[in-house]
């Protein structure tokens, strides 16, 4: 789960990491009230789940009440696209923060390094730009240190990193202390990423986390009720919100062909073969082993609530789940909801003959049956293009 900047900073503060004081706002009025309370100059910051906000105009300094109002009204509702094409995300929330007088900008992060199976701590005095840029510009300017599981990460390791990165001598102790606190927070929060960019040295030589990009392991949310409470269903895409409420694994995409498959790998593969057939998938939805009519109805309801969807491909390879059970689920689901769009079903695997027979006998309107995955992909693209 990706946290917004202000959510990450609130958690930082609870773990003793110094952050500027600020207030959360969801309307222009709230933003102005927050600015008045904090005083000027203050910074109006768009709260979205991606980097590159500053370049997109999502971070502005306000010198007075009028500017605070102007910036808040400009930024709320703004569409921001991430540096790697993520989004666009609409800005629903702001963080109003006291402006910091900055002497130096650093970069600090802790990540779970999947290949090394260790945590990786990184520090650079070239803050403010993204880590790929730092690595490109001057690889030596980025200090990377794995945490040995048996050894851990304490003041000694942190001081060494701060020295190796060339942190100003008078800020070294505080920077090292910050790294240790971030590391402690990382473990206590079950984080998989904490990035502070920039980590700043203020003109009065304090070390402060000016930004936060934090990701918490979804599998560990059960032991972090405070973090789970951050989930803003209202800020989510309507289909993603609906899927979440129904407990489905769904990802919204841009296209017009609804996709339902069993298993994450097969579902990704289904998106790919539909794209290869010239189609444009509208979503990822892993039905899991869901053969029950309830689960199929729920999935189809989420998919068809996206008005762009012109046709749906239901790609099943029955393993433990039997195709005849799935066919019964589809038939019952078809009786309970009106899809309004054609449904292409590919059933293969355990008891596929029985399943296909049941579907053929049911003679459901606008239901097309295919035996192979590639055949089904071609069919759904053809059917969608005719609508």
């Amino acid at each position: 789960m990706d946290l917004l900047e202000y959510q990450g900073k609130q958690l930082f503060a609870r773990h003793g990491v110094p952050v500027p004081s600020g207030k959360h706002a969801k309307t222009i009025e709230e933003a102005v009230a927050a600015a008045e309370e904090i005083g000027y100059p203050c910074v109006v910051k768009a709260q979205v789940h991606i980097g590159g906000r500053g370049k997109a105009g999502g971070i502005k300094v306000a010198e007075d009440r009028d500017e605070a109002e102007q910036h808040a009204s400009a930024i709320l509702g703004m569409q921001i696209t991430g540096p790697h094409g993520e989004g666009p995300f609409e800005v629903h929330e702001l963080w109003i923060e006291e402006a910091s007088k900055i002497d130096a900008e650093y970069y600090a992060s802790i990540i779970l390094d999947r290949s090394a199976k260790k945590l990786l701590v990184m520090l650079s005095t070239m803050g403010g730009m993204n880590v790929e840029e730092i690595a490109d510009k001057d690889p030596d300017a980025l200090v990377r240190r794995h945490v040995e599981p048996a050894e851990g990460f304490g003041p000694e390791q942190a001081a060494q990193i701060a020295a190796d990165a060339g942190v100003d001598e008078d800020a070294r102790a505080e920077t090292a202390e910050m790294l240790v606190k971030l590391y402690t927070a990382f473990n206590e929060l079950d984080a998989t990423l904490i990035e502070v960019n920039p980590l700043v040295v203020t003109s009065d030589r304090r070390v402060v986390a000016l930004d936060s990009k934090t990701t918490i392991d979804n599998s560990a949310l059960y032991r972090h009720e405070d973090v789970a409470g951050f989930e803003e269903l209202s800020a989510m895409d309507p289909q993603e919100r609906m899927a979440k409420e129904k407990g489905l694994t769904y990802v919204k995409l841009d296209g017009d062909i609804g996709i339902l498959a069993n298993g994450a790998g097969l579902c990704m593969s289904t998106l790919d073969v539909v794209a290869q057939a010239g189609g444009d998938p509208a979503n990822f939805l892993d039905a899991g082993g869901g053969s029950k009519a309830d689960a199929i109805v729920a999935a189809l309801e989420v998919i068809t609530s996206d008005e762009k969807v012109k046709a749906i491909l239901f790609n099943i390879f029955g393993g433990i789940t039997r195709c005849d059970e799935i066919a019964k689920g589809i038939i019952e689901a078809a009786g309970r909801i009106d899809l309004g769009v054609p449904l292409i079903v590919r059933l293969d695997g355990t008891n596929s003959e029985e399943g296909l027979g049941l579907l053929a006998d049911a003679t459901l309107p606008d239901l097309h049956i295919e035996k192979t995955m590639l055949g089904a992909a071609a069919k759904v693209v053809e059917v969608a293009s005719q609508r």
Partner: protein
């Protein structure tokens, strides 16, 4: 031969008394796997259709000579169960459980490595060696004995490819699901090495997906150390960055972990990559025949 599980596997199942554990445990026994014990704390002395249940894996290992452990316990207790299996001295631990916190797995991963225990998974469908043993949830009917070793991050996608190989008259030495989590006990390279050393395996089909760089590292490893032909498939070309596609590990972070990068890395080392599961199976059959 086969890899990881074979005729000599003596299996102890943690979580045998749960609904899923019982269902799959009995399926594994029906297939011919030597299921010697189950483990559920406070249920020692009971049995599941004749399979004796113990309180601890250590007792099961001592009394029944278990050498392989399968973990079927709920996610929040699963890392502790894997640790218990490692401490009990079994040689191989296969963890099916999905949703284990990744911080729990870091310690468990290193514990397994230090003790020399082979850990497969978590969040995997298990290992099937056709005609010998099935440990996990892989539906065995799609796989016949044969010369193709399969290693995969995904379950259903593997069944899809296995079924196409079977229809083409081909079979498998083993099918290994390594799991879709960010940290898994064995990576592609670990399993590739086992297939390289296995007499029965003539070629390898590797099924990857977006996220991490296990496929890229495998490409390097294949070029350096694997003499048998490898054919690959990668899922997730249409996945957008920053979105978790079902599996906890299936996420493109920034510009890293894309399907395109994995395909290019593999092809740069001479590994043929199929566009679809169907084409991958066709290439495998063609490579085997040549």
């Amino acid at each position: 031969m086969s890899i990881i599980v074979g005729d000599d596997a003596k299996l102890v199942i943690s979580g045998l008394t749960g609904r899923e554990g019982t269902f799959h445990g009995l399926r594994n026994r029906d297939y011919g796997t030597d299921v010697v014990a189950g483990v559920t704390p406070k249920k020692g002395g009971q049995d599941v259709e004749g399979i004796p249940v113990f309180d601890t894996i250590a007792e099961a290992a001592a009394e029944k000579g278990a050498n392989t452990s399968m973990i079927f316990v709920p996610a929040r207790f699963a890392a502790a169960a894997i640790n218990e299996a490692i401490d009990a001295g079994v040689a191989t631990v296969i963890a099916i459980t999905e949703g284990i916190p990744v911080h729990d797995m870091i310690g468990t991963y290193w514990k397994a490595r230090e003790r020399g225990v082979r850990l497969i998974g978590p969040n995997c469908p298990g290992v099937l060696s056709p005609g010998k043993a099935n440990v996990g949830i892989i539906p065995a009917q799609f796989f016949d004995p044969g010369p193709i070793g399969v290693v995969s991050k995904s379950g259903t996608l593997t069944y899809q490819i296995g079924n196409e190989l079977k229809q083409a008259g081909q079979g498998n030495s083993s099918i290994v699901g390594i799991g879709g989590d960010p940290i898994v006990g064995s990576d592609f390279i670990d399993v590739l090495d086992l297939y390289e050393a296995d007499d029965e395996t003539e070629m390898i089909v590797m099924v990857g997906e977006i996220g991490g760089d296990a496929e890229e590292r495998a490409a390097e490893h294949i070029a350096a150390s694997i003499s048998k032909p490898v054919v690959a498939y990668i899922a997730g070309f249409t996945a957008p960055p920053g979105k978790q596609m079902g599996h906890a590990g299936a996420i493109i972070s920034g510009s890293s972990g894309t399907a395109e990068a994995k395909k290019e890395a593999l092809e740069a080392k001479g590994v043929r990559v199929g566009k679809s599961p169907t084409e991958t199976a066709q290439i495998a059959v063609e490579v085997l025949g040549s």
